[in-house]
């Protein structure tokens, strides 16, 4: 099965989160600049006559599509990197994905999701080096 992770994070945590994802081998994502607020409301900005209130704050939305078994490590990586402990750290949503098609090749499903050096290839490589078969058997084209 395939899942989509949609994570809403602080703008200023994007580099940290990208770095954390790169470290576990997440190579594909897209990033959208969004505005919004949860229950915490907004912030005060300064103008030339004092302060004013802004209720929709800039946030980053990350979209990542991956296999079921990679969801938990990815959630963990995003949460650890995006957490400041303050209100407004964001949310992560996980959705089921019906189908994935790579436009260039017409590949579908998992084949359309695998890349050189992605999270699954790495998982395969580590056990091979240790002489233990802990891989999940995903073919990499």
């Amino acid at each position: 099965m395939t899942k989509k992770i949609e994570a809403i994070i602080r703008e200023e945590k994007l580099n940290d989160v990208k770095e954390a994802l790169r470290r576990i081998g997440i190579v594909g994502m897209n990033v959208v600049e969004v505005r919004g607020h949860g229950h915490q409301g907004g912030i005060e900005l300064v103008g030339r006559q004092g302060t004013y209130y802004v209720d929709l704050l800039p946030r980053i939305q990350l979209n990542i599509v991956l296999s079921d078994h990679n969801v938990e490590p990815t959630i963990e990586a995003i949460s650890d990197a995006a957490r400041t402990g303050g209100i407004g750290d964001g949310l992560i949503f996980v959705y089921p994905v019906e189908e994935v098609i790579r436009i260039r090749t017409g590949e579908r499903g998992r084949d359309a999701l695998t890349y050189e050096d992605d999270i699954d290839t790495r998982r395969q490589k580590i056990p091979v080096r240790n002489g233990v078969n802990g891989g999940n058997g995903v073919k990499v084209s």
């Binding site: 200023e12 770095e19 900005l45 300064v46």
Partner: protein, 407 residues
């Protein structure tokens, strides 16, 4: 009063306005090159010098630079608070315009010079410390150096060093101070690991274009009269900018594609390099000065990148090295056929002038770099130079000013 020349005075009033305009122009030149979250902060670093240094100059900056010389090292306090600086000319500096106009014109140079340095530490500087820095830097570096080079009795002027419009006083001092500041403050977070793209190159082009126009006042006005010398300075200025812009564009083409940002950066480097020479050389020499300035700054920039030094907007490569080349080039290409009050350079048979230029340059570099390095270390110990890591990630617009450039 009888010596006032209306044409000279009118031109210098306009030139004063042109040089003032260069500071907001620089704000946009730099502001376009930073990330979106630091756009206002970067614009502000330049703009706020128009506040701080304007007041400093009126109170005591002018007299430190142009007051009665104390041993050739600093001006005395006879013009404190612009006392005695009024409508009558001061024949020591400009015999045909009001002394107050000369002081106002010079003020604009004092305003833009600290703004030039800001390119070294954008996107991480603590604003409070910065305000103190520019005040101290103007007082301890700019005012004395301006006195050495331009003040009557200043020791570099007495030595015969030529600096028509501030290649050494403005650009070399800003460039090498920027290098010292960058070393003291350290790199931005994620420098070299995450892209730091310019957020608005059109801003940078707008800024460079206005700098080019303003430079007619900067160099043309330095003739301090509406005369043939001012026209030579203006034509040399335009010619060197054109040559350097084109050469820089070809350098980027050689390494990839002809860069638009490259063309305007080259133009600014050409303007820097011609600054000390503008009123001493021929337009043919201006082509060479501009054309050679581009590779000098271009490869200085590449060296800076290879050394992984985050001197963020290349003030050292463009102003420091461009200005250093200009100071030396003045010692090569200067000719009395353009300016009787100047000197002949090495290519016109006067080897000594090149030596004088080199000595003056080394003194200025050592002074600006040394004082700035000590100053930044001291300020770092007292208030800290940098904002917190989180404030830096959020961006200085929100974290330092509570404002955002783009809603």
């Amino acid at each position: 009063m009888d010596n006032i020349n209306a044409g000279d005075t009118a031109w210098l009033i306009v030139a004063t306005g042109l040089v003032l305009m260069m500071t907001p122009a620089l704000a946009f030149f730099y502001g376009g090159m930073v990330r979106k979250k630091n756009a206002l902060s970067t614009l502000n670093l330049s703009i706020v010098t128009m506040g701080v240094i304007s007041i400093q100059w009126v109170l005591y900056g002018y007299t430190l630079a142009f007051g009665q010389s104390m041993g050739g090292f600093v001006g005395g306090l006879n013009f404190l608070g612009l006392n005695g600086v009024g409508a009558a000319p001061n024949a020591d500096y400009a015999a045909t315009i009001p002394h107050l106009l000369f002081a106002a014109y010079q003020m604009m140079f004092a305003v833009i010079t600290p703004a030039l340095i800001t390119g070294a530490f954008v996107e991480r500087i603590k604003f409070k410390t910065y305000l103190v820095f520019i005040l101290l830097w103007a007082t301890l570096v700019y005012d004395p150096l301006a006195h050495w080079v331009w003040g009557v009795g200043g020791f570099l002027r007495s030595m015969g060093a030529l600096d028509f419009a501030g290649g050494t006083v403005v650009h070399v001092s800003a460039g090498f101070s920027a290098l010292a500041f960058a070393l003291a403050i350290g790199p931005r977070r994620w420098f070299g690991r995450a892209p730091m793209e310019p957020h608005n190159i059109p801003f940078t082009i707008l800024g460079a274009g206005l700098l080019w126009v303003g430079w007619f006042g900067f160099n043309g006005g330095s003739a301090l009269a509406a005369n043939g010398l001012a026209v030579y300075a203006l034509v040399n200025t335009n010619t060197a900018a054109a040559a350097a812009g084109l050469v820089w564009m070809f350098l980027t083409w050689q390494d990839g594609k002809p860069s638009v940002l490259g063309f305007v950066t080259g133009a600014v480097v050409g303007l820097v390099a011609i600054t000390p020479a503008a009123g001493f050389v021929t337009p043919m020499s201006a082509i060479l000065i501009g054309a050679l300035a581009a590779p000098i700054s271009y490869y200085a920039m590449r060296l800076r990148q290879r050394r992984n030094l985050d001197e963020s907007l290349d003030v050292w490569a463009c102003h420091g090295m461009g200005g250093a080349w200009g100071a030396l080039a003045t010692g090569l290409f200067a000719t009395k056929t353009i300016n009787e009050a100047g000197a002949d350079g090495l290519f016109y048979g006067n080897v000594a002038q090149f030596g004088i230029q080199a000595v003056a340059l080394i003194i200025a570099i050592a002074f600006a770099f040394g004082i700035t390095f000590v100053l930044t270390k001291a300020l770092n110990a007292v208030w800290g130079l940098r904002v917190s890591p989180n404030a830096e990630e959020v961006g200085l617009d929100i974290s330092e000013h509570g404002e955002q450039a783009y809603a």
